[in-house]
């Protein structure tokens, strides 16, 4: 069933190429289908995730529930693009938590997943209360419609915007509110992690883009509150980056690397430059391509070795050249090495930060440096070093699926610049 859905999406993708012209025109079809610039790319993302998740479930439990849940997530994903109403947007945004929680509940690996469920629910629920308050203001002063003509809307205060965006900041996640993500990743199965990394965080990115449309005429740039959020996320990212170097659980490390990528996103968003939306998109796509692959890899290792501890996995990939090559490329793209999207994303982040202030860019580059540290340590701890042969038998399998994906990641470099 999943494969059929993915095929459908790929077909629609290929058809949408013909409708490329429709972007520019203001027809009814255009408004109906909500074909912004973003939609096209995100179609790509969703198709690929479905494909990847379908490959996962082939190797493991082939239950219809998995496919149902993934499809439900993507249905939610699509609906979020099609809505005009901010309340329906919010509703579907929060509903996307439910399949995730179901994933963790049914296919997580250990008992502590109950705690992670609690964390997810409480974080998202509690941080959405300010939004309710702001909605009251919106109800009284203007419409809920995002796409109403901008003259009729009365512009609201920046503080209200920031209050309203807390429910996004939780999902994104920002540093102080990031623990639910770590717990979710650690407790979830591979598919859950994939979906979490790909979809849920990108929903938040989408929300970032959509929400300020409700608050026209507000510049997010150069404000005390936004700068505190900026610096908070940045310093938090640096702190947890140092924290990961000595971690034992591989999945934790990857979860924190995704938090760091998203710290970049937050930075770019709150600098409010003219190019920031484009960079947001690029970072979303880049991160969304890389982290699920890494999760899949670690998940497969976990299947064979039944452990994610670094002290046990040490040197597991030593004898397998091709697998270690793939693993190397994945970690390297995390660092933003040239000839990958992440590199372009890093450069764009660099431009945005420079436009804001020198110090910020310096800190951002510090973050990039530390990113390199723990990623490379991640690679070396698995692909070289001392063996612990008495814990497992050496791996002897090849993974051909990933070749294409890795090549795709490199090739997108050319495509994206259009």
């Amino acid at each position: 069933m999943l494969t059929k859905c993915s095929q459908f999406l790929v077909a629609s993708l290929s058809l949408s190429i013909f409708f490329h012209r429709l972007y520019k025109r203001n027809d009814l079809i255009n408004i109906l289908l909500r074909k912004d610039e973003n939609f096209f790319l995100l179609l790509v993302i969703s198709a690929l995730t479905l494909f990847i998740v379908s490959t996962q479930s082939k190797e493991r439990r082939l239950s219809p529930n998995v496919s149902l849940l993934t499809i439900s997530i993507f249905v939610i994903f699509f609906i979020l693009f099609l809505v005009n109403n901010i309340i329906t947007f919010y509703i579907f945004f929060e509903i996307s938590v439910v399949p995730l929680m179901l994933f963790i509940r049914y296919w997580g690996y250990r008992l502590e997943r109950v705690k992670s469920l609690l964390y997810i629910f409480l974080y998202t629920f509690s941080m959405s209360f300010p939004f309710f308050i702001v909605i009251n203001f919106i109800r009284k002063t203007s419409t809920y419609n995002i796409l109403a003509p901008q003259d009729t809307l009365i512009s609201l205060d920046l503080v209200l915007l920031l209050l309203a965006s807390t429910f996004i900041l939780v999902k994104v996640p920002i540093w102080m509110l990031h623990i639910w993500l770590i717990k979710a990743h650690v407790e979830a199965s591979t598919e859950g992690s994939i979906i979490l990394a790909r979809v849920v965080l990108k929903l938040a990115g989408v929300a970032f883009i959509k929400l300020p449309l409700m608050f026209p005429g507000i510049s997010i740039n150069s404000n005390i509150i936004t700068s505190t959020i900026l610096t908070l996320s940045l310093t938090g990212a640096i702190i947890i980056a140092f924290y990961t170097i000595r971690q034992r659980d591989l999945k934790l490390i990857i979860a924190i690397s995704s938090i760091i990528h998203i710290a970049f996103m937050i930075l770019i968003y709150y600098t409010g430059h003219s190019i920031s939306l484009w960079t947001l998109l690029i970072i979303i796509v880049a991160h969304g391509l890389i982290s699920p692959l890494i999760f899949i890899f670690v998940g497969n290792i976990y299947d064979y070795i039944s452990s994610r501890r670094r002290g046990i996995i040490k040197g597991a990939l030593k004898r397998l050249t091709y697998v270690s090559i793939i693993w190397f490329f994945l970690t390297i793209f995390n660092i933003a090495v040239p000839l990958s999207i992440n590199f372009i994303a890093e450069i764009y982040f660099f431009f945005n930060a420079m436009a804001y202030s020198y110090f910020l860019s310096v800190l951002g580059i510090v973050l990039i440096f530390i990113n390199g540290l723990f990623n490379i340590y991640l690679y070396t701890s698995t692909a070289s070093g001392q063996n612990k042969d008495y814990y497992y038998q050496t791996l002897t399998t090849e993974k051909t699926i990933f070749y294409y994906i890795v090549i795709f990641v490199v090739a997108v470099l050319i495509v994206l610049t259009n």
């Binding site: 390297i332 000839l339 580059i365 990039i368 390199g372 070396t380 070289s384 090849e398």
Partner: protein, 580 residues
């Protein structure tokens, strides 16, 4: 397997690539500057463009790099043979070479960063080739210092926001707008970035650690590519900035410190490859000195000649290691090396070049350097230290000949690998190149005014060589009487002293290990197969038993170590103060 097919096809293409590498040499050396810009515009931002630069210096650099790398590619057939990972190894090698070429021929910031990152990544993979504990530690050290340099370089380019594009042209114009503090900040940041690449004093821990790579890799890395990337970018920006004399003296002092310390360590080093690594450090200090005196041409000349003879040296060293059944130690000779005549000839020839013996290429570059010191009149102390370091090169080069003179013999060599086609082709080609290159380069590209110096100063190079030889002979004479173990004990203590001054062992050994206090323990050089297997054989245990009293559990306390380092720093500062 589909992938294997793909890889074999790829490999066949690499033969074509090799030919292409040779074809690069056919590039005509035109005198006019032609900059090829393919502006690949990102949306809404004209800050980024990819462009290449084809000045004569860049072209010569590219040619030298391609030639050396082609030869080392052939040499890897001899050294590593048909190991399991050879396809990946060679492809990574070629990626390395290409990123270096991108870097050399780059005209803009973006391509430079591309090359730099590519260099870091591929060098990491190459160092990690033997997946042992030591190799991983060394690889981590190299990559992390590379990344640090990346950080500094990107930060340095932040401070040049005002310009439209950043062209890395080597023209002699200053920056159009005077930014005041920003230019200096930029330059310092850039320098520190380049320092990491170049293995300058704060960041020089990765170079001896990168010995864990196989010899062809260290031949490439240490001779031409990785260590000259930083120097190259400094040479491009030197004329654009008004360096005061104070600043240039400070950096000259830093490079001189590097070279003397490296020389000192090399005299007491007993691992062949580490010795050669220290000699690269020394030469790089020399080149840096020249750069900060704003003599671009001489510096580049020394870079090129150094590239050739250092790679030749590594080739010979690699052959010696193989004939020696894997032992990298000078003291231990496991095979009868008198059967091996040809590499000895090569060794002698390129050692001569290293020293700066008469009329090899090293002579031209080194002599020029020494003579510019005389004529520049910058500082007498630095001058002395540099001469001292040259003296030290003589010492440690002659020390490496000890391998031939020892009488310990633990195994008999079989005549299988004495004559290998790959080795002879590669080494012969390089040797010819070294001997001829210096001559032509010198007469074409260096101004004649550098050659007009007093007669007494001109003999200084020769004097250094002679004194070095005499000193070494005396030491050898003395050492014949003492036993081998006593010699090695003395040397070991000295080595530990020097290395702990420069904090060189700190990063390379224990950056990520949990037992950080082990930095003073386990100071035994591993041999070649120790990099492959983690099992210490009985032979090593026997040798370790002889050196048991050297287990340096608390030889120099950290307080003393910092004191020594501070002393060095204070010395330099006093020098600067006294000068002004």
């Amino acid at each position: 397997m589909v992938l294997k097919k793909w890889l074999t096809i790829f490999l066949i293409n690499f033969r074509v690539v090799l030919i292409f590498l040779f074809l690069l040499r056919i590039f005509p050396l035109i005198n006019n500057v032609w900059i090829f810009t393919s502006s690949y515009m990102f949306p809404m931002w004209n800050f980024v463009d990819i462009s290449t630069e084809l000045t004569t210096n860049a072209k010569i650099f590219a040619r030298v790099v391609s030639f050396v790398s082609a030869i080392i590619y052939l040499y890897s057939y001899f050294y590593l043979g048909t190991a399991k990972d050879m396809n990946t190894f060679r492809s990574v090698l070629i990626i390395f070479v290409f990123s270096m070429l991108i870097l050399v021929l780059s005209g803009s910031f973006l391509t430079y960063i591309l090359g730099w990152d590519g260099l870091g990544v591929s060098s990491f993979l190459l160092v990690i080739y033997y997946r042992s504990l030591l190799a991983t530690r060394s690889g981590l050290a190299t990559f992390i210092t590379n990344r640090l340099g990346d950080f500094f370089i990107i930060v340095s380019f932040i401070f040049l926001l005002g310009l439209d594009t950043i062209q890395l042209e080597t023209n002699t114009q200053k920056f159009p707008i005077n930014y005041g503090i920003f230019t200096t900040l930029f330059f310092f940041m850039l320098l520190t970035g380049a320092f990491t690449k170049r293995a300058q004093i704060p960041f020089s821990a990765w170079l001896p650690a990168a010995i864990a790579a196989p010899t062809p890799v260290s031949a490439l890395v240490h001779s031409s590519t990785l260590v000259t990337a930083g120097l190259y970018i400094i040479s491009k920006f030197l004329y654009k900035l008004d360096l005061t004399i104070n600043v240039s003296i400070f950096f000259c002092a830093a490079t001189v410190v590097l070279s003397t310390l490296a020389g000192l360590i090399a005299t007491v080093e007993s691992d062949l490859k580490k010795l050669v690594a220290m000699s690269t450090l020394r030469q790089i200090g020399l080149i840096g000195y020249i750069l900060f005196l704003k003599e671009n041409n001489i510096a580049l000349f020394h870079i090129f000649s150094h590239a050739t003879f250092k790679s030749l040296l590594f080739i010979v060293v690699g052959s010696f290691i193989i004939y020696n059944t894997g032992f990298q130690d000078i003291r231990v000779k496991t095979a009868d090396l008198s059967l091996v005549k040809i590499p000895i000839v090569f060794l002698i020839a390129r050692r001569a070049s290293l020293i700066g013996f008469l009329y090899s290429s090293g002579f031209f570059s080194k002599d020029l350097i020494i003579l510019t010191f005389c004529s520049s009149g910058i500082s007498l102390i630095l001058y002395f230290f540099l001469l001292f370091s040259c003296f030290l090169t003589v010492c440690y080069t002659l020390k490496s000949f000890k391998l031939l003179l020892n009488n310990i013999r633990l195994a008999v060599l079989d005549g299988n690998k004495t004559s290998s086609a790959w080795l002879s082709i590669s080494a012969m080609g390089l040797l010819a190149f070294t001997l001829i290159f210096g001559y032509f380069f010198f007469w074409e590209n260096i101004d004649q005014e550098h050659c007009v110096i007093e007669a007494t100063n001109k003999l200084l190079g020769l004097w250094v060589i002679i004194t070095g030889m005499v000193f070494r002979y005396l030491v050898w004479k003395k050492n014949i009487k003492t036993s081998l173990t006593r010699q090695s004990i003395k040397y070991k203590q000295l080595k530990i002293f020097f290395i702990q001054i420069t904090n060189l062992n700190w990063i390379s050994n224990n950056f990520f290990s949990s037992t950080f206090k082990n930095r003073y323990i386990n100071f035994y050089e591993p041999t070649w197969w120790n990099y492959i297997s983690e099992v210490v054989s009985k032979k090593n245990q026997l040798l370790a038993r002889n050196h048991r009293e050297i287990k340096t559990r608390n030889f120099i306390l950290p307080l003393e170590q910092t004191l020594y380092f501070l002393l060095f720093a204070i010395n330099i500062i006093i020098m600067l103060i006294v000068y002004f």
